[in-house]
Structure formats: C-alpha cells, structure tokens
Amino acid sequence: MSVDGVLSRFSRGERWVHRATGILMGLCLLTAAVLYIGPLSILVGRRPLIRTIHVYAGLALPVPALLGLGSAAFRADLRRLNRFLPSDWAWLRDRQRRSGRIAVGKFNAGQKLNASFIAGAMLVMLGTGLIMRYGAGGPLSLRTGATLVHDWLAYAVAAMVIGHLWFAARDPIARDGMRTGDVPASWALREHGAWARAEAADQPRTVNPRNSAE
C-alpha cells in the first residue's frame, strides 16, 4: 500500500498535557532517586530542598491531565485508551504484533495498559504521598503502609516510564507525532491501521490513499 499526506494525531492541548506531565514525572522520578537511593542521597545532599521539589512536583502531576479534560480531543482520547476492543486482545497475543497485520485503533493495547497504569499509579502515589507528607498526626501503621506502597509503586512507575521512553526512542515518527501533532499516513496505516482508515475518511484533504488495498 502507499499513502500520501499526513494525519492529524494530537491537538495542541493534548501535546501540552503530555509535555507538562512528562516534565513533572521526570522531576518526581529524579528527586525520588535522590531521596531513596542511599549513595545518591549522600552525593547530592540538600535533602529538604529535594523533598520540597518532590512534593510539589507530585502534587502538580495530575494537574495537566485535569486541565486537559477541558479539551474535547483529550476526552476523546481518554475514551479510546479506556476501551479494549477484540483487536487489542488479539494484538497483545500476537507474536508479530509490530508487523501491522492486526489493525489497531489510535492506541495499541500496550499504550492503553501504560496509560491506565500511569493514571492509577498517579492517584495511588498522590494518596500515599499525602499520607507520608501530611499524615504526621495519623496512626503510624498507616504511614508505614503508605510508605511501603509508595516505595514499591515508585519502582513500577520508573520501569513503566523507562519502557515508554524506550519505545519512543525506537520510533522517531511517533516522537514527531507527539512534537508536531501530525503523523505520515503511511506510518499510521502500519502502526494504527484501523484509526488511519477511519481518519482517512474524515480528513479527505490531507490523505490521498492511492492504493489502499492490502
């Protein structure tokens, strides 16, 4: 198949939400590393300052996504991320899922899992973080529990973020899509076939499928 043109993938608002969330998440993870990993703690010092940055970055972390709820495009993408179609399960099971032979929607199942995990993790980290930071008057056992959950989930979040960066590093076109908002239709057909075809019908001026037969 060959396709000309570009498809609009992310609105300006969505890209802003992604960038702001990414920066805040980076701040949270870097300061967490300094707070948690003994040798780094000693090397960097300045614990009160690092802790303050960590707390405020964490409190701010959900804000971009909350603001994003004001954008119809962002809400539409949240709905897409939430729903698992039969093709998503098939894609997850397929050993050659990267070949594009299973046409998935705007987000593949891995992206959906990642987004859901990060959304849930943000809420749990926010709750446990609030207990750790402001729960000094509460029962000590709750603080111990909150600390344990916050610790272990932090490692899981770090693993997911590293995975996210890994996939992004391997796909410059996807990165361009997040930077500029547009992706080549050929890339979209390969990576998100079902979405590309639906969009091609909606965005006829930008896409010109010369020979879309597979």
């Binding site: 703690s41 179609l85 859901s116 959304a119 709750l142 529990g145 959950v149």
Partner: protein, 236 residues
C-alpha cells in the same frame, strides 16, 4: 463514538486504587514480611544490589540537614565535656584503644521498620564516661551531631547501660557515612532516633535537654514498645 469494547482502563485504575488502599492498611505487616524475606538475602548479597530495593539493607537513609560534613578516620574528633573531671577530645584511634563492647540487636525505627540482628561494636558509653570521670551533680548526657542539627539526650542512668554504645562498627564494617559514620551513638533499647548519627560531641549535664526529635513531639524516654504509642517487641 465508534469504539466500544470493555472499559479495561477504568478497571485497571480502580483495581490499583483498591490494591493501594489494601497496601496502606496492611502495610505494617507487609513491611515486616518483606523485611523477614529480604534480610537473609541482604546479609549474603555481595553485589549490594539489594541496597537499591525499597527498604534495601533494612535501613532508610534519613537526614534533615542539607549537607553532612565528611569526617574521615583521620579528621574525626569526639569532644567529651561538661560536668566531667577530665574533658577530652578523642580521635578514632583513641576510641579503638578503649575497651571494646560488641552486641547484636534488632534496630527498630519509630515509623515501623525494623532490621533484625544488627551487629554493633564500639566503646560502651559507660566506659567512656568512666574514662573522663563524671562529676557530682551530673544527671544527664547530651549528644550533638557534627551535622550541626541533631541533638539527643539520655539520663545518666540510661547512658550507663551496657547496651548503649559509641559505635564505630556496624554490620561487621566501620560505620559508613550514610549510616552516621565514622562514629554514631547506638542506644539498643530505644527507638532509632535516639541512636544519633554523626556523633561529634558528648556533654554531661545536670538535666535532660530534649533533642531534635523530642522538640517535634517524640518521646524523650523512647523505649521500644513502651513509648510513642507503639507496641513493637522490645529490642533489648
């Protein structure tokens, strides 16, 4: 909306929230279990990788100060003064020449974590006080940290217990900087905050002066299991 299908994303978010709540509520027991499972690994871990786990090595690094001055075996000094006959400044090798006391006890933090069977050694505080001679009228001992912030206090009676050490070794190695080295206090029967890190000064006084944490609401007599509203098993 053209996309239907099951709301798996929402289920993941709600499931994580549920697990989070369970983790917070049962955390104390989970932390204890984690500690018991990991402790044997950490003791035999030559790579130090378990130090990178949450709670790795059992101890959490904690300090409120911005920077901890480095004291090496050469530059370290411990000033002992106040109500004593012979005020004296000890180097690390001075401390090594005094009678040594070794003991192995659990280390319990007031926030819940506990490290089992930690080997400590150094000079029993009682022996050090003997060395400088306590003057009549002395009732308490105050400790200051060379980080410039932390202070702690014990009654003279508590300070003379045989399980209160001016510790120079921990876990079979010199006390690391992270753990309060080269010299820290170790008060076996009390919560961890009494075991002042980066020990720089000892002053014998006529009354207990509440320390850093005690000004922030923690008990002065910090017996494990009998203070701070906690019911942990005693460590000594």
């Amino acid at each position: 909306m053209e996309e239907l299908g099951k709301p798996i994303g929402r289920r993941i978010v709600l499931g994580m929230l549920g697990l989070g709540v369970v983790g917070v509520v049962t955390g104390r027991d989970l932390a204890d279990l984690e500690q018991r499972l990991l402790a044997p690994l950490q003791v035999r871990d030559p790579t130090g990788l378990t130090q990178l786990l949450p709670d790795g090595g059992g101890f959490r690094y904690y300090s409120v100060t911005s920077r901890i001055p480095t004291r090496t075996a050469v530059t370290y000094r411990l000033r002992v003064g106040g109500l004593v006959e012979r005020p004296e400044t000890f180097t690390l090798s001075d401390l090594h020449r005094l009678p040594q006391t070794a003991l192995t006890r659990d280390f319990q933090c007031v926030t819940g974590w506990r490290v089992r069977n930690v080997a400590w050694s150094g000079v029993a505080l009682a022996d050090l006080l003997e060395q400088v001679g306590v003057r009549p009228g002395a009732r308490a001992v105050q400790f200051t940290s060379f980080d410039g912030t932390y202070t702690e206090s014990l009654t003279l009676e508590q300070a003379r217990r045989r399980d209160v050490l001016v510790a120079t070794r921990m876990l079979g190695k010199p006390v690391t900087r992270e753990h309060g080295g080269p010299v820290r206090l170790y008060v076996a029967p009390m919560y961890g905050y009494k075991s002042l890190k980066w020990l720089g000064g000892i002053e014998v006084t006529d009354a207990v002066r509440p320390g850093y944490w005690e000004h922030r609401g923690y008990d002065v007599d910090a017996w494990v299991g009998r203070s701070n509203g906690q019911r942990d098993a005693p460590t000594a």
